[in-house]
C-alpha cells in the first residue's frame, strides 16, 4: 500500500497556520518510553463476552509486564467502518477483531500483517476451516479466535402445553415441514403470535445461506467463478424461505425490518428463534419462561451458519511485534479455552473441545451449548471458503436486497433466483 496518498493531498490543502499547531512527528505518544500500549479495536455483544475479553487482557498484562492493552468495546456496526478509516489514515490500531465475513475486504487490499511465524508446531490444533478463512496462499493473516453457529431456541412452556417434544439428536432434527407444523400449532392455539423468529439483519443477511446448503444449493460454483443459485433447488429454497416468512414470522423480521428478533422471543411473541450460542447467557437472565435449544431444522442434509471472529494486525500497525505477542497469547490452549468458556463461544482450537467447561449461571444451559457444539460440525466447508472472498460484503448486500424483494415485496422465487444469479455474477466476474 502506498503511504498515505490521501493525507498528502490534504496536506497541500491545509493552511499552514494549522499545520503549525500539529505535534511534531507521527503519533506523538504521551505514554512513557518503556511501556508499550496496544490499541485493540473490538466489540462485545453481551456481558459475558465483555468479561471474557477483560479476563484475557488482565492475564496477558500479568504475563507480559511492560505491555498494556488499551481496549474499548465499540458497536460491531461501526467498528468495520472506523477500522478502515484508521488504516487508510495511517493511524491503524495495533489489533482488530474482524468477522470472518469481513476479512476478505482487508485481505484483498493486503491490509493485514502476515503473522505466519507465530504458528509453529501448534498449527494443527486449530480448526482447519477457520484457519483457511484467515489464510491467503501460504500465509496466515490472523488468529482464528472463535466461531459460533446457529440453532433453534424454543419456548419450552409453549411446547409443553402443546405436548411437543423437540428432537435431541441431530439426525432426528425437524425438517422444515415439521417446524412449520409446530409453528402452525403455536399460532393456532394462540400461544404465540408468530411461530418463528430469525436473528439476522442487513449486515448478517448471509445467515440465511445455511437454508440453501441444506438443499445442496451453493450460491457459487466450487471455483467461485460464477453464481449457481438459479437452479430448481435454488428456487425451491427461496420458496421455502418465502413460506417461512409469510406464514410463520413477524412482518418486521425481514433482514431490514424493524423488529428485534430477540425481543420477539423473550417477550413470548414468537415461540421459536433461530439464533447463536452467544445469546445463551442473555436468555438465562431475561426470560421469564423456560427455554431450551434444539438443532437447526434440516433439508436434504443439515447445515448451519459459520459465525465468529478472528483477531488480526493491520499491515501498518505501529507495534506489530507486541501485537503478535498478543495474538500468540490468544491462541494458546488455556487462554483460547478460557475465552470460550466465559464468552460462550466455540473455541478456535479443536484440541480443547474435551476439556472445555462453560461458565453458565444455570447448569441446564450446558445441554443447550452441547447442541450448538454438535451443530457447528454441520457448517459446510464450501461456505467457509466463500465467505472470505474480498467481494463478500457486496454479495451480502445483494443477498439482503434480494431477500427483501422476496419477503417484503413478494416477488416470485423464480424472479429472485434470477436477480440473485445476475447480480452475484456481475460482482464476481468483474
Amino acid at each position: 500500500m502506498s503511504k498515505m496518498w490521501s493525507a498528502k493531498i490534504l496536506n497541500v490543502l491545509l493552511p499552514a497556520v494549522l499545520i503549525g499547531c500539529s505535534p511534531n512527528g507521527e503519533g506523538a505518544d504521551q505514554e512513557s518510553e518503556d511501556e508499550v500500549v496496544l490499541d485493540f479495536m473490538y466489540w462485545s455483544s453481551s456481558d459475558s463476552e465483555e468479561r471474557a475479553f477483560q479476563e484475557q487482557f488482565q492475564q496477558f498484562e500479568e504475563e507480559n509486564p511492560g505491555i498494556k492493552i488499551d481496549a474499548h468495546p465499540m458497536p460491531g456496526d461501526d467498528i468495520h467502518m472506523q477500522a478502515k478509516i484508521r488504516i487508510a489514515a495511517d493511524d491503524a490500531p495495533d489489533l482488530i477483531r474482524i468477522q470472518y465475513q469481513q476479512l476478505g475486504e482487508y485481505l484483498g487490499e493486503d491490509a493485514l500483517l502476515d503473522v505466519s511465524d507465530i504458528y509453529e508446531d501448534n498449527i494443527e490444533q486449530f480448526n482447519p476451516s477457520l484457519l483457511e478463512a484467515v489464510s491467503q496462499g501460504d500465509a496466515i493473516y490472523g488468529m482464528p479466535h472463535h466461531t459460533d453457529t446457529l440453532a433453534l431456541f424454543y419456548n419450552k412452556t409453549y411446547m409443553d402445553e402443546l405436548g411437543i417434544e423437540p428432537p435431541n439428536q441431530i439426525d432426528e432434527a425437524w425438517t422444515w415441514e415439521e417446524l412449520f407444523d409446530v409453528s402452525q400449532q403455536l399460532q393456532e392455539h394462540d400461544l404465540a403470535n408468530y411461530g418463528l423468529a430469525y436473528s439476522w439483519d442487513e449486515g448478517s443477511a448471509y445467515r440465511i445461506l445455511p437454508l440453501f446448503y441444506q438443499n445442496s444449493v451453493s450460491i457459487f460454483s466450487n471455483d467461485l467463478s460464477e453464481a449457481t443459485v438459479n437452479t430448481e433447488d435454488g428456487v425451491d429454497t427461496l420458496r421455502q424461505i418465502q413460506e417461512m416468512y409469510q406464514n410463520h414470522m413477524s412482518v418486521g423480521n425481514s433482514a431490514r425490518g424493524g423488529d428485534d428478533p430477540n425481543l420477539l422471543f423473550t417477550s413470548g411473541t414468537a415461540g421459536m428463534l433461530i439464533d447463536g450460542n452467544w445469546m445463551i447467557p442473555e436468555y438465562e437472565e431475561s426470560t421469564e419462561f423456560e427455554w431450551e435449544v434444539t438443532f437447526m431444522p434440516q433439508g436434504e442434509q443439515s447445515a448451519s451458519d459459520m459465525g465468529g471472529n478472528a483477531v488480526a494486525i493491520p499491515e501498518n500497525a505501529p507495534q506489530p511485534e507486541e501485537g503478535k505477542k498478543f495474538l500468540e497469547f490468544l491462541g494458546e490452549a488455556d487462554n483460547n479455552m478460557a475465552f470460550a468458556e466465559e464468552g460462550i463461544f466455540i473455541p478456535g482450537r479443536t484440541d480443547v473441545d474435551d476439556e472445555i467447561d462453560y461458565d453458565f449461571d444455570d447448569p441446564d444451559s450446558i445441554e443447550a451449548m452441547e447442541v450448538f457444539l454438535e451443530q457447528a460440525e454441520t457448517v459446510p466447508e464450501h461456505m467457509a471458503q466463500t465467505m472470505t472472498i474480498p467481494e463478500f460484503n457486496e454479495i451480502n448486500q445483494v443477498i439482503a436486497d434480494q431477500m427483501e424483494n422476496l419477503l417484503v415485496y413478494e416477488e416470485t422465487p423464480e424472479d429472485v433466483a434470477n436477480s440473485l444469479e445476475e447480480e452475484i455474477d456481475s460482482i464476481i466476474k468483474d
Binding site: 499545520i19 503519533g27 455483544s45 458497536p75 456496526d77 484508521r86 490500531p93
Partner: protein
C-alpha cells in the same frame, strides 16, 4: 410562568395570592377560549411521546412488555437506572460532553458574532460570494465529509483530543446566518456615532454591538449547545478512545448490539436528554425575541 413576583415583602401572603388570582381571572376572561382549547390538545399530543418514554423508564421490564397503556407505572422502579449506570460510565461521558459543549459554545458564538457583524455592517470585496459560500456549506451532507476530516485531524494530531472535538465544527453556517440577519437590524448611526467618538472597531463590536444583541446571543447559545450536545457522527469518528466519548457516542456504543431492553433504552434516552432540556428551559425566554429580529429581510 408569571414571573413578576411582588417586591413588597410587607404584603401578606394571602393578599398576594388574592391579587394573583384576580389577575389570572382577568386574564382568563380575555382568553380566546377556542385557541386555548386547541393549544391544549396540540400540546398534549406533542407531549405523549415524552410521557410514554418517561413512564417506560420507570417500569419493570415485565410491565413494559405487558401491552398495557398506563402512563403511571404500577410498580415504580429505579432499577433500570442502576443497571444503566453499571454498564455505562455516564459521569465520564457527561463531563466530556459538558467540556465540549461549553468551549464549543464560547468559541462558536464568539466567532459567529464577529463574522455576522462583518457581513452585516461592512462593505468589502468578496462579501457576497463569501456569504453564499458559507450558506452553501449548510447543504453539504456531513456524513460524507467526516472521512476526509478524519485524515485532516489525524495529520494535526487532534484525534482523541478536546481540540479535535471542539474546534473543527466551531464554524457553522446556520449560526453565522442568524447573526448576520440580526445584525442587519442594528442602526448604522449607532456605529457611526461611536466611530466619530474615536472608538476602535473591535471596541465598537465589544462595547456597542454585543450589549445590543443579547437575544441573538441567547439563540446562538441554545442552537450551538443543541447542535453540539446532540451531534453523533462527528465525535463518533473523532474519538477512537472511549475516554473521549461524549454522551451520545457513549450511549450508542453501550446500546447492546444484539439485545434490546426497552425499559433500559428509555431510561438511557431520558438521562441523555435531561441536561439539554435544562439548558433549553433556562434560555428559552429569549427565543422568539431573538428570531424576531433576524427579520428575514434579505
Amino acid at each position: 410562568m408569571n414571573s413578576k413576583a411582588p417586591t413588597n415583602e410587607n404584603k401578606s401572603i394571602s393578599s398576594t395570592f388574592n391579587r394573583k388570582f384576580q389577575s389570572m381571572k382577568k386574564e382568563w376572561k380575555e382568553t380566546n377560549k377556542i385557541s386555548f382549547f386547541f393549544l391544549c390538545i396540540i400540546a398534549f399530543i406533542f407531549l405523549i411521546p415524552f410521557l410514554w418514554m418517561l413512564s417506560t423508564a420507570f417500569k419493570t421490564s415485565g410491565e413494559a412488555m405487558s401491552g398495557d397503556t398506563n402512563f403511571i407505572p404500577r410498580t415504580f422502579t429505579w432499577e433500570n437506572f442502576q443497571e444503566l449506570f453499571q454498564v455505562v460510565p455516564y459521569m465520564d461521558y457527561l463531563v466530556n460532553s459538558i467540556i465540549v459543549a461549553f468551549f464549543a459554545v464560547i468559541l462558536t458564538v464568539f466567532i459567529n458574532l464577529l463574522a455576522g457583524y462583518a457581513f452585516a455592517k461592512y462593505k468589502f470585496r468578496g462579501r457576497n460570494i463569501l456569504f453564499v459560500l458559507v450558506l452553501a456549506t449548510l447543504m453539504v451532507p456531513a456524513h460524507i465529509i467526516v472521512l476526509p476530516n478524519f485524515f485532516i485531524l489525524n495529520e494535526l494530531g487532534w484525534i482523541n483530543t478536546y481540540a479535535g472535538l471542539i474546534i473543527p465544527t466551531a464554524a457553522e453556517a446556520f449560526g453565522l446566518f442568524l447573526a448576520r440577519q440580526y445584525m442587519l437590524s442594528i442602526p448604522d448611526e449607532m456605529i457611526r456615532a461611536a466611530r466619530v467618538d474615536g472608538a476602535g472597531e473591535f471596541k465598537i463590536f465589544l462595547k456597542i454591538i454585543l450589549p445590543n444583541v443579547q437575544p441573538l446571543i441567547a439563540i446562538l447559545i441554545i442552537f450551538t449547545f443543541m447542535f453540539r450536545w446532540n451531534d453523533l457522527i462527528y465525535p463518533l469518528v473523532v474519538s477512537t478512545d472511549s475516554s473521549m466519548y461524549t454522551l451520545p457516542v457513549g450511549m450508542v456504543m453501550a446500546e447492546g448490539e444484539y439485545f434490546v431492553d426497552w425499559t433500559l433504552m428509555m431510561s438511557m434516552t431520558l438521562i441523555s436528554i435531561i441536561p439539554i432540556l435544562i439548558v433549553f428551559f433556562i434560555f428559552q425566554r429569549h427565543f422568539v425575541q431573538g428570531f424576531a429580529n433576524t427579520g428575514m429581510k434579505e
